[in-house]
């Protein structure tokens, strides 16, 4: 941000600030709701907001992202040891871990449950995928596909290589009568690779039926890995940034959230305020090696490789990912790719797929890191319905104000009361 020097420029700045403050939308969306965070942070002409799309359906759990992140950002060593939690010996995101790969082992029962639950999300208008496109004014029923990009053969092949086979056992493609009715023309491509048209109402119940049927018949795979690379969400309304008392956390021109390590005084408030448990205070002063001494005792988290993306390079994790499970780019495009991918998976019966963080109407105004998950968020250690704490701040202050007035009144009454002894 440039600092205006001439009085005329100052006047212009003040006028534009006043205009902004007149705009009700501006204030309304400061604590919650869809907004452009870089513009709200007064960046004059910000570039498009950047973000991640982490597609867990094609993550192979190689942890290259973890290693690349540690190397590039010179993060100190964590405890070395076995956790006993599948292949996850990292544990959780924290001051020294900015990418964390989660491993969950699940049985057929879980897969079927996830599939049924995901299909139900479609039936309900897929709240976490569909954004505002839910209500259908004419039908009085949710219209799940209003205006959203349809998964087509071209789109799905353009998107990403598919790790999940699109015609595995227990999917709709495996039910001949179902798929032959609904398949679009394949244009000579492998039918299993062709995404179907966007499923409507009947398809949703058909999917649910297919998932239940598959479980009953025992055609669901008897085991699956859930592998997901977690990272800072770079929220539209970032709790850590909101509560930081020193201004050490700031919003970059890319709409991401970064800690300035030479400003942070380690108060730890951001740690308690993050609804995802991402940011943490680097505590251990005995950790040496690659640790830069300046960063001990202060808050640390993913910067979305601010240094790299400022020079048009990919973040280290996205660069290192061998399966394109981690994709980086303009957030709009990331959200679109995520939608296309989830639709392709759903159309082929993998109704367990669902998006996380792609809804700008959610409790944090949508995240800069969008995820495609294959089960409920809490299975991966993610909060199912996070709301940034400052969403309630006006009411919190109101209650505290009333309490303060109560105190003053109480003190006044105590001294005005009769009786000197």
């Amino acid at each position: 941000m440039s600092i205006s020097t001439s009085p005329a420029e100052w006047g212009k700045g003040v006028r534009s600030m006043l205009r902004d403050s007149m705009d009700a939308h501006f204030w309304k969306n400061q604590l919650s709701g869809p907004t452009d965070p870089a513009q709200d942070a007064a960046w004059p002409d910000p570039p498009p907001r950047k973000g991640f799309f982490t597609d867990t359906s094609i993550c192979i759990g190689c942890k290259a992202c973890e290693v690349a992140c540690k190397e590039w950002n010179q993060l100190p060593m964590d405890n070395i040891g076995m956790t006993g939690n599948s292949y996850d010996n990292t544990g959780h995101l924290g001051a020294n871990t900015w990418r964390h790969v989660a491993f969950v082992e699940q049985s057929a029962e879980h897969i079927a449950q996830a599939r049924v639950a995901g299909a139900r999300l479609v039936e309900l208008g897929m709240p976490r995928v569909r954004d505002a496109a839910v209500g259908s004014p004419d039908a009085g029923l949710p219209r799940a596909d209003a205006g959203l990009p349809r998964a087509t053969a071209m789109n799905s092949s353009r998107a990403v290589p598919s790790g999940l086979p699109l015609d595995g056992p227990g999917t709709r493609a495996a039910l001949p009568s179902e798929s032959s009715e609904r398949d679009t023309p394949t244009n000579g491509l492998d039918p299993g690779r062709v995404a179907l048209t966007r499923p409507g109402e009947e398809d949703a119940s058909a999917m649910q039926w297919a998932a239940e049927q598959a479980l009953a018949e025992g055609t669901v795979p008897d085991f699956r890995w859930l592998i997901a690379s977690d990272v800072c969400k770079h929220c539209t309304h970032a709790g850590c940034l909101d509560v930081c008392p020193t201004g050490a956390l700031f919003r970059t021109e890319f709409g991401t959230v970064v800690v300035q390590d030479e400003v942070c005084n380690g108060c730890g408030y951001c740690v308690a305020a993050c609804p995802f448990g991402v940011i943490d205070k680097r505590k251990d002063p005995t950790t040496t090696g690659a640790a830069r001494q300046v960063e001990i005792g202060i808050a640390n988290k993913c910067t979305l490789c601010y240094d790299r993306i400022s020079l048009d390079a990919k973040p280290a994790c996205a660069q290192a990912c061998p399966t394109t499970s981690i994709q980086f780019g303009d957030l709009d495009e990331m959200r679109e790719r995520a939608r296309e991918r989830v639709e392709a998976l759903h159309a082929n019966g993998f109704t367990e797929a669902r998006l996380y963080g792609a809804n700008p109407n959610d409790g944090v105004g949508g995240t800069g890191s969008v995820f495609l998950l294959l089960d409920e968020p809490e299975v991966y250690g993610l909060p199912p319905d996070p709301i940034v704490t400052t969403h309630d701040l006006p009411d919190i202050f109101r209650k505290a104000g009333l309490a303060g007035l109560t105190m003053l009144a109480g003190a006044a009454v105590s001294f005005l009361g009769r009786g000197n002894s």
């Binding site: 604590l31 919650s32 709701g33 869809p34 939690n85 969950v104 029962e109 879980h110 639950a117 309900l124 709240p127 505002a132 496109a133 839910v134 209500g135 009085g140 029923l141 959203l148 509560v243 930081c244 008392p245 020193t246 201004g247 005084n265 380690g266 108060c267 730890g268 408030y269 740690v271 308690a272 993050c274 448990g277 943490d280 505590k283 809804n359 109407n361 959610d362 409790g363 089960d375 809490e378 299975v379 909060p383 199912p384 996070p386 709301i387 704490t389 969403h391 202050f397 209650k399 505290a400 309490a403 303060g404 105190m407 003053l408 109480g410 003190a411 006044a412 009454v413 000197n420 002894s421």
Partner: protein, 384 residues
């Protein structure tokens, strides 16, 4: 994965884990509070080893991180409340001519402020950078606001205490004596002005976090905290000052303790699942002790408040109650952050409630499931 691991993966390890093999365990403590994830509890085949849990977690790990704070923060909360209340006692005493009460309360306020500031600075990861708190003023950060409140309060309390010291040092016939009353009044008003925000904001500090218990009790907590601060300050005056001048302090302590007890009962009652940590473990013991001490203080004050030994005991009880309240609420919050149950279950309930509401209102096309607000006029393409 072994049985034990599966169990950890499926449920939580800290709280009451639903027993794997009994329906009672399954539908007991957790089910009562977890209406949302019904479909997770559908009947399973007998050969599946995973115990049914009311919610899933990632190996029982916490979702949110507990605040990286230790005993220094609740110490700060207590001494901050004591300082704020004492400044009010001092201001009242100054305006009603109770010079002894005024002096003692002012010195108490300064001492408590010193303790709270030291505790706050010592808790920082980089204490030498404390002054960075004053490089911004941020309405969304209660800690930023609190730092400025503390700075303002500190300035006036410092002046007030200096004025008390001046009364010892300055010779009786000095010309400065003429101006002391003006300084006194100014310091009283200033410290009084900052005292209520200082006592109340500490509740905001805890509530404006993702820590389930602290956030869940934000409506009542500031009342409990200001009551606690008043009781502590009134109590401190009863300890330090002769009963001839402490009638208002006794009234303030009684009123404060009553407010604290009432607000806390209400808070426990309204908190639901996230109120559970307030009743368990160390927090439960501390908060139980707080209630007992408050009642002791009230009893002693009402029965024998004008008898100095009883007044001293009552004052100590009020301060004990205030301190244990802060430590108890602090520990309850830390525990609630460590257990994923308190994060996940209320959020699942929130989703279920929203879905139910959306299902009802679809016919009228009024709301969006999964959204906190109705859909904007933007088209999906614009949002995408």
């Amino acid at each position: 994965m072994s049985d034990a691991e599966e169990q950890r993966a499926a449920g939580n390890t800290n709280g009451p884990v639903p027993q794997p093999d009994t329906d009672a365990g399954e539908s007991g403590a957790v089910t009562a509070t977890a209406a949302a994830p019904v479909r997770r509890r559908r009947r399973r085949r007998d050969d599946i080893m995973v115990p049914d849990a009311a919610f899933d977690s990632y190996y029982g790990r916490s979702v949110v991180k507990p605040a990286p704070w230790d005993y220094k923060i609740p110490t700060y909360l207590y001494s901050g409340g004591l300082a704020a209340g004492s400044a009010l006692v001092a201001a009242g005493a100054e305006m009603t001519g109770r010079t002894l009460l005024q002096r003692n309360a002012r010195l108490t306020a300064l001492g408590a402020l010193g303790v709270s500031t030291v505790a706050l600075v010592a808790d920082l990861g980089r204490p030498s950078r404390f002054v960075n708190m004053l490089r911004v003023m941020k309405l969304t950060s209660p800690m930023s606001i609190g730092s400025w409140i503390l700075a303002g309060f500190g300035a006036f309390t410092g002046v007030a205490a200096a004025s008390e010291v001046a009364k010892f040092v300055i010779k009786p016939h000095s010309a400065i004596n003429r101006y002391l009353p003006i300084v006194d009044r100014g310091a009283s008003i200033g410290a009084g002005f900052f005292s209520a925000p200082l006592a109340a904001y500490t509740a905001v500090l805890l509530s404006n976090t993702a820590t389930p218990t602290w956030h869940g009790i934000y409506r009542e907590l500031p009342f409990a905290f200001v009551g606690s601060g008043m009781a502590a300050a009134g109590g401190a005056a009863m300890v330090t000052t002769t009963t001839r001048q402490t009638a208002p302090a006794r009234r303030m302590a009684l009123g404060g303790a009553a407010l604290e007890l009432t607000a806390f009962r209400l808070l426990e009652h309204n908190a639901g699942l996230v109120g559970e940590p307030l009743r368990q473990g160390k927090a439960g013991q501390l908060l139980g002790a707080s209630t007992a001490l408050s009642l002791t203080g009230i009893g002693l004050t009402v029965l024998a408040g004008r008898w100095r030994p009883a007044a001293v005991l009552a004052g100590l009880a009020f301060n004990g109650a205030s301190a244990t309240l802060r430590f108890g609420v602090f520990h309850a919050g830390i525990e609630s952050a460590k257990d994923p149950k308190y994060t996940v279950v209320p959020q699942k309930e929130r989703i279920a409630a929203r879905e139910a509401q959306a299902a009802l209102s679809w016919s009228s096309n009024a709301s969006t499931p999964g959204a906190l607000r109705p859909p904007t006029s933007q088209s999906p393409q614009e949002l995408a």
